[in-house]
């Protein structure tokens, strides 16, 4: 097992490491080149959250004077601090996009304090002017209306009038998506219900498959989801002959016949804006948010199962949304335990702060938060 040749090979490799290690200096950023670091919590090709960002990063690469460095599968621990510092120290990055929600506090904030000249923009909407450093900021999209349109498509496609939602955690963002999806479907047919299953975490492929199968067993014939990588849900649903509405990115390739439409992020809008500011020498905004109307969010092209009538109706509602000010959550609205949660005459457009502490499931959702 151990002979002279393998020893020599090993020694050569080790020697090369020592010799080259000294020779390799930190690569100075070339004049005029902007180095941008992207950090993803999962794989870049997850058909989901991370892919949505990576696709935008790939589009950025075509802009002149830009170098992109990317790292995938970086956990939401102090690992991400090391990755950010490594990108700054060893790659010369001056603009960082840590894209996962849990990167912000305390990790990104700590690194930002250490490197006041580096710009950090985090995906998630957590930045507050009086609390956080000025070289940091947030960008996020309102995707609830996308889920509302998903719900409409599902409402038209469903025969059993039972929809399913595979969700990660019962946090406000996710609850808003579940409620929007349900309200969209019930706008088409008020007898529709949505069965929700929480898997407990952002990436639980086995539980997601189990949840999808159990929804199929309960007679659900159309599902959507809010998990980091929708691939498993989409494939499992299509395998069980259910229709499916996508989330995060376009999953139509995974289920060409069963995919209705999907609520996708359109991050290139945000990234192009930041990069243009950076290259032009103007200060970067600290807080940007937008929805369908601002092109932060887009819908996947309709699949073959969406009827002409459905397309017309959805397009009409979408056109209404594109004008701005559309409210999905509006009174009178009851939760699924019968309590009134929004009074008649009150409407919360997607920008409303009240939506960010949502803690209920609307009437028509089968399931509970606790």
């Amino acid at each position: 097992m151990l002979n002279r040749r393998s020893l020599l090979q090993g020694a050569t490799a080790g020697g090369a490491a020592l010799a080259l290690g000294g020779a390799l200096r930190p690569r100075a950023a070339r004049a005029g080149t902007l180095t941008i670091g992207f950090i993803y919590v999962g794989p870049k090709d997850d058909y989901g959250y991370n892919q949505a960002h990576a696709e935008a990063a790939a589009k950025l690469k075509t802009m002149p004077g830009i170098k992109i460095v990317e790292e995938e599968k970086v956990p939401e621990t102090d690992d991400v601090e090391k990755t950010m510092q490594s990108m700054i120290e060893l790659d010369g990055a001056t603009l960082l996009f840590p894209t996962s929600f849990g990167y912000f506090d305390p990790y990104m904030l700590r690194v930002a304090k250490k490197y006041p000249k580096i710009q950090f923009r985090h995906c998630g909407g957590l930045w507050q002017k009086d609390k956080h450093p000025l070289n940091t900021g947030s960008y996020f999209g309102y995707i609830g209306m996308g889920q509302y349109l998903n719900g409409m498509a599902a409402g038209y496609a469903s025969k059993s009038k039972k929809l399913g939602f595979v969700a990660a955690k019962p946090i406000p963002q996710v609850l808003l998506n579940i409620n929007s999806f349900t309200l969209g479907a019930r706008a088409v047919d008020p007898s529709i219900t949505t069965q929700v299953i929480f898997t407990g975490d952002w990436s639980m492929p086995v539980k997601e498959a189990e949840a999808t199968n159990s929804l199929a067993d309960q007679g659900v014939d159309c599902v959507t989801m809010h998990v980091d990588g929708p691939k498993v849900v989409v494939q499992t649903a299509a395998g069980r002959s259910m229709y499916v509405c996508g989330y995060h990115a376009d999953q139509s390739r995974l289920a060409p016949q069963k995919y209705l439409t999907g609520a996708e992020w359109d991050w290139i809008t945000v990234y192009r804006m930041f990069v243009t500011d950076m290259q032009g020498g103007s200060p970067l905004p600290n807080f940007v948010r937008g929805g369908l109307a601002e092109h932060f969010v887009k819908m996947s092209p309709y699949g073959p199962a969406v009827t002409e009538a459905a397309r017309k109706h959805i397009d009409a509602v979408k056109a209404e949304m594109m004008k701005g000010g559309f409210a999905v959550i509006k009174g009178p609205l009851r939760d699924n335990k019968g309590a009134a949660v929004v009074a008649a005459g009150t409407a919360y457009p997607e920008t409303a702060i009240q939506l960010e502490s949502m803690n209920y499931l609307v009437e028509g959702v089968v399931g509970s938060i606790s």
Partner: protein, 371 residues
């Protein structure tokens, strides 16, 4: 402890073979150093072949690995920071291993240790900082020790397989952790990332001045040295190793086998719990899913690489910390997938485990002269 005391006296009194061959301890040390080194070189060579087959330059890989792990002061700090929790979680495996136990439940003990440390600190926010920190350390150690101690008790009293028991208890521990963090102990302000209340900035353990290194590294190194002394320089440690060598013989000698098993498990689990406490007190400031970073599982790998010798854990943790530290740079510069460093770790692991068979094969390393 009388049986242990007798054993110690007997060991001290018996004329050893080493007395006749003064250079033997030196050669033995060379053997323990040489075998893993040879294995590392072999793993590097095999990995170089793999890289070449993928069309990537092994020389570039080595250069970047070096740069990312040890090439700059930043890289060194990165490596050492990653190594810090691994020192303690490796002890969770290495200490019970002296008794022949294979404990793989460090992750759960770490999580519960971190949680217990946080809970202990919460009512004390505002109190004298060292008091809070010491209370946290004790709570973390106790929770981790209790959790692995249950495994030890099941093994000692009921003969339950400790590997399976510790793994299953680890899952239960993590589920309990998640339940408490997302339920009763959740700070309502942590909307989208469930966490407990914070222990307060004043109670955080800061970095060593001038560096980014937190004292967890020093705690880990001291724990490794203390464990080495305990295992190789005390009669209790000797009794533990006798038990690990031959359980029946130890029982015949009248050694308190059951007590040793439970104690070793509690001690190991305590270290994992302490790692969790350090993660809360020096890094996260609160208990949340960030504690479940896989340190408990990496600790298993390191303990086996170190052949369960607490002193050897230190270089092995630094080595794997370095590989982890360089992983990002390799991904970014060479466009290698994230799994690359995991493959490299796998190569190292297999090579070092296989190198176990080298021990005792070469007569040159063996004692000479008449015993």
């Amino acid at each position: 402890m009388t049986a242990i005391a007798q054993l110690g006296a007997a060991a001290a009194a018996s004329p050893s073979a080493a007395a006749a061959d003064r250079l033997y301890p030196l050669r033995r040390a060379l053997e323990t150093l040489g075998a893993p080194l040879a294995a590392l070189l072999l793993a590097a060579a095999a990995f170089a072949v793999l890289l070449a087959a993928l069309g990537k330059s092994p020389a570039d890989f080595c250069a970047l690995l070096w740069k990312g792990a040890f090439g700059t002061w930043f890289s060194w700090q990165n490596t050492l920071q990653r190594a810090a929790p691994l020192l303690l979680t490796a002890l969770c495996v290495a200490v019970p291993a002296q008794l022949g136990l294979v404990i793989i439940g460090g992750e759960g003990a770490l999580a519960l240790g971190g949680l217990a440390a946080t809970v202990a600190a919460l009512p004390l926010v505002g109190a004298w900082t060292p008091f809070v920190q010491i209370t946290m350390a004790i709570a973390g150690f106790a929770a981790g020790g209790l959790w692995i101690g249950i495994t030890g008790l099941l093994r000692a009293r009921r003969g339950v397989n400790e590997t399976v028991a510790s793994l299953v208890l680890s899952y239960i521990g993590i589920a309990l952790f998640n339940h408490l963090v997302e339920g009763p102990l959740r700070d309502p302000a942590s909307l989208n990332k469930p966490s407990t209340w914070g222990i307060g900035d004043a109670n955080m353990i800061g970095p060593v001045p001038g560096t980014e290194l937190h004292p967890g590294l020093a705690v880990g190194v001291i724990a490794c040295v203390l464990c080495w002394v305990l295992i190789f320089r005390t009669s209790t440690g000797f009794a533990a190793r006798v038990t690990g060598g031959n359980l029946r013989a130890a029982q015949l000698q009248g050694l308190p086998v059951a007590r040793l098993i439970v104690l070793a498990c509690m001690l190991g689990g305590g270290f994992a719990g302490l790692a969790g406490m350090m993660e809360v007190a020096a890094v996260n400031g609160r208990a949340n899913a960030s504690l479940l970073a896989g340190y408990g599982y990496s600790g298993i790998l390191i303990a086996f690489l170190a052949r369960h010798n607490p002193l050897a854990i230190i270089p092995m943790a630094v080595l794997l910390g370095g590989v982890g530290a360089a992983g990002g740079l390799l991904q970014r510069r060479m466009d290698l997938p994230d799994a690359t460093v995991v493959v490299l770790q796998g190569f190292i692991f297999i090579a070092i485990l296989a190198s176990e068979t080298l021990y005792g094969r070469f007569a040159w390393f063996q004692p000479r002269g008449k015993a």
